[in-house]
Subunit: 101 residues, 2 copies
DNA sequence: CATCGACATAACGACAGTGTGATAGTACAT
DNA sequence: ATGTACTATCACACTGTCGTTATGTCGATG
């Protein structure tokens, strides 16, 4: 249960989700991720390291560049499912609000 | 993207997952959740409040008791999918380790 | 080998979240 | 009314995480 919570924690950070989103199309090197996200280089490196340790992302040095890529694309399914649930929740919250007014 | 991260954050806490798990069978009052989880009453109240604000759980006072219940049971699907992904990840990490040795 | 670009890491300050113990509020029974 | 269970909230200390700045490292290239 603890491990699962830690896994959820991986996705509980906006910038980390942005980094993941940048990798949606396939492998990218760090600089490319920096450009796509607009985050600082140090910050991107940090998040990529976290994602690597978490086993979500694979690190592949190539010459002087380092490419990162999502290992199991099902993480995008997970993210999508969470997003869907979130929308349903928001809708239900609105309904509940309207019922009061 | 921020909102989605916040939604993931809801599930990124072991005790909160335990509270949710206690509610798997249906509505329970606070004391029942306390008993099932072994957490302190104050802590359970806090987590239940969070879950309520997040729209995951519904609060229903009944006499002197307050029952809580999961609104959309799909959250359990989400949790299960995350757990499945986590397992796959662990397996792949082991494989990668073996490949090195 | 000197340098330059790409990436990683360290150190730090700031802030958010967690758990606890104490206390307050609330319905119910006696 | 008073006491008793149930639930909520407060104040606090503690910890963990985030982002930044600065610096370190490594490979490629001249």
């Amino acid at each position: 249960m603890e491990a699962l919570a830690d896994y959820f924690k991986v996705f509980s950070e906006p910038n980390r989700l942005a980094v993941l989103d940048a990798l949606r199309g396939g492998a990218l090197n760090v600089t490319a991720v920096v450009e796509r996200t607009g985050l600082s280089q140090a910050l991107v490196s940090k998040h990529l390291k976290l994602l690597t340790i978490a086993g979500v992302v694979r690190r592949r040095p190539e010459g002087s560049l380092v490419f990162y890529e999502v290992i199991d694309k099902n993480v995008f399914r997970l993210i999508q499912q969470a997003d869907k649930l979130l929308l349903a929740t928001r809708r239900q919250q609105l309904d509940a609000l309207v019922a009061i007014l």
